[in-house]
């Protein structure tokens, strides 16, 4: 018999909307949600009055680096960082060494993660050895449980191969996820191309390197009705292309990352390679346009693109350093802090379901408070049940805070203001762009499949990873 965990006095936010009330989990399930729950002796009681109780998060874009990159991250450290960020499940990206391009490699990686308290799902590559020449055994990968295939780290350069992947993958129910990058346009770039890169003397990555492939793939999906997912879109124009495609009924979904929503290229001015990431941090104008499209509901998923690297791969000139930054641990706070900025710029989330808007209006008094909750609902949707749906997870896994649903629950303290420090990083790597940055909102308590992984903002290691 494990103790019940009772969240008292918060707002409950789930796919049906927002309501006041307590929530209790017992074992692997939610046993009560909404209304008042009277604690019993022995219950763990969490004071949730400062914030929101939400379904746990799902990351559809995590580089766990296993196999081959254990110097940067292990399944254990990666899932610890995920838990601290409020994640109940992560999708491991397949650009490992060797890449996850066949069922045996997928099974081996998953076997290593089976005992971990955060669920690890595997993607597979689109092409063998991620070399962009021949299709991976997609049917065998699908049979091994792979739901999403991607050559992430590289785009599929050959348009016809991408067309075939969409065709072949569609009948298997596979999501074909593209890393949108035309290599000939990308060149040897290290940061966003523009006035800033020119002044710094750094080789630029033009926005069109991404946008041309976004446009190409949208037209392929339009022609084939394949299931296309566009990863980590970073430019305003990319987002606008997706908006147009969706309006046309093209079967496409799109991802944006916390760092493209929160950080901009000016951070590269000191040549600090922690900010070197692919796609690169873009201009303030791009960031604003991403939020604009996000307010319109154009993006389906916020994925972290959590990309750990050992020190020596990052303590180098921008020409030599690796692309990528950590994300799991601070994603929700970064996005929430960014959303508060979007509110200041006058952006209001559009197109929320009527029932959700009505529930928000009933739960809070002021218009400003309703707008903030509207944003939170959209953000949590993009970080929890929408990625879960993309990855084919059971509806009960995350999304509904109701008796009978799985006990995957996060308390997000929206009143917290804090500054992450390097000694709080749980990843094996340390390349986080959020160190020393003031964030608003903090993941304080996390329960995954009934196990309390984070309490009072601290990881609960014993009994979970040990």
């Amino acid at each position: 018999m494990s103790a019940r965990i009772v969240y008292k006095g918060g707002l409950l936010l789930d796919r049906s909307g927002v309501r006041r009330g307590d929530l209790a989990v017992d074992g692997g399930s939610i046993v009560a949600a909404g209304g008042e729950v009277a604690p019993r002796p022995g219950d763990i009681v969490v004071n949730a009055s400062g914030g929101l109780v939400i379904p746990a998060l799902v990351d559809a874009h995590t580089h766990l680096r296993v196999p081959g990159g254990e110097e940067a991250e292990t399944l254990e450290t990666g899932t610890m960082a995920a838990a601290m960020g409020g994640y109940a499940a992560v999708l491991a990206m397949p650009n490992t060494s060797p890449p996850l391009d066949n069922p045996a490699r997928v099974a081996q990686m998953l076997a290593g993660a089976a005992r971990l308290p955060v669920r690890v799902l595997s993607s597979g590559t689109i092409t063998k050895e991620r070399a962009g020449a021949e299709l991976s055994p997609l049917a065998a990968l699908a049979k091994a449980g792979v739901r999403l295939v991607t050559d992430d780290g590289s785009g599929v350069q050959d348009a016809n191969l991408m067309r075939r992947a969409l065709q072949y993958g569609a009948e298997l129910g596979l999501v074909v996820a593209e890393h949108c990058e035309v290599e000939s346009l990308f060149g040897a770039g290290v940061m966003n191309e523009g006035a800033l890169s020119a002044g710094l003397g750094l080789r630029g990555i033009p926005a069109v390197a991404e946008e041309v492939m976004v446009a190409r793939d949208i037209e392929l999906a339009r022609a084939i009705r394949g299931r296309l997912h566009l990863l980590h879109l970073s430019t305003g124009r990319s987002a606008e292309l997706v908006a147009r495609a969706k309006a046309d009924g093209v079967p496409v979904t799109a991802e944006v990352t916390p760092h493209h929503l929160f950080l901009t290229e000016e951070l590269l001015s000191g040549y600090d390679s922690v900010y070197k990431v692919n796609p690169p941090l873009r201009s303030g104008d791009d960031r604003r346009r991403l939020w604009e499209q996000l307010s319109q509901g154009v993006f389906d998923v916020i994925g972290t693109d959590h990309a750990p690297h050992p020190r020596w791969r990052k303590e180098a000139t921008l020409d030599d350093a690796a692309f990528g930054m950590l994300g799991l641990q601070h994603a929700l706070a970064a996005v929430y802090t960014g959303a508060l900025g979007a509110i200041e710029e006058g952006l209001v989330p559009q197109g929320l379901p009527d029932a959700v808007s009505a529930s928000i209006a009933a739960a809070v008094g002021s218009q400003a408070e309703a707008e903030r909750l509207g944003w939170l609902w959209r953000i949590v949707a993009m970080m929890s049940w929408q990625p879960a749906q993309l990855l084919g997870l059971d509806e009960n896994f995350v999304g509904r805070l109701e008796a009978g649903a799985r006990a995957n629950v996060v308390f997000f303290d929206t009143s917290a203001e804090w500054t992450p420090t390097s000694n709080s990083i749980l990843s094996k790597a340390g390349n986080s762009p959020y160190l020393g940055v003031g964030l608003k909102g903090r993941v304080v308590d996390v329960v995954v499949e009934g196990r309390r992984l984070v309490g009072s903002g601290e990881l609960i290691y014993e009994g979970n990873w040990e």
Binding site: E193, G194, A195, L196, S197, A198, G199, L200, G201, L202, R203, G204, G270, Y271, W312, E315, A316, T317, L318, D319, D320
Partner: protein, 311 residues
Amino acid sequence: MANDDALKQGFWSMGQLDRQGAESLLRRARHFASGPRRLDLLDGVEIAALFFETSTRTRVSFEVAATRLGAAVINFDSKSSSLAKGESLQDTVETIASFGVDGMVVRSSAAGAPELISRWTGLKVVNAGDGAHQHPSQALLDLFTLSERLGSLDALSGLKVGIVGDIAHSRVARSLMDGLDLFGAETTLVAPATLMPPRGFAPYVRATSDFDGCLGDLDVVYLLRLQQERIGQGLIPSFGEYVARYSLTRERHRRLRPEVVIMHPGPVYPGMEVDSAVIAAESSLVRSQTRNGVYVRMAILEKVFGAGVME
């Protein structure tokens, strides 16, 4: 005083200097140009010269400058070093720093390397050219050479300078634009769109692709070196076409006003950026540029590594 602080960690970029700071360095360079060859202003100072890219004039002139000031120069040969065996730049510079040198002069193909090396080692670093970023000692020697020709730094005000060629990849252009701006000169960048940096990176300069159209307006024509690889990168179709549009040929030279001066950071590729006869003409300052490099670099080294300047 503010200027002393500006170069406290080294000299990476012209952006660290205000007009006063640049003037004081150039004044000091003029003093060295007319002074005795042997000085002991940096007696006991050890400077490591790290040239990760090949260089003749910059490396040797820094070395001569340091020697004349009494400093010892430790040369680092990147081709026979552990860097060639895969050791990282950070390891290499930390190793050299651990020997207790007082500072470094660095030439690197990586933009930002001097600033990063200073951050990693805590040492003062002087930039001898970093990627397409900055080459501040070159800009100062160009300003020195121009003021020598024109009689004063004040004469730079309103001067119309055309910088012609591969602006996009040029650290010389970036530093020189900054330097000219400090003294009120008006810079026009001249290049085809493919060799021009993205719009808006320096709002205070003009840009054009039409060399012939602006020839008659210029007081100074500053030609940049063109690398062979620009053809393979698809930035220009051929050398022939480049020469036809952007080389300072004898024919174009004749159309310049008689008092116009020609400059080039070297090494000159005769017949490409500029006709060899034009480079040898009286209007060419190329030889003066090379000679003045030593004096300006003496001033820089003294400012960065010296105990204090006595003017």
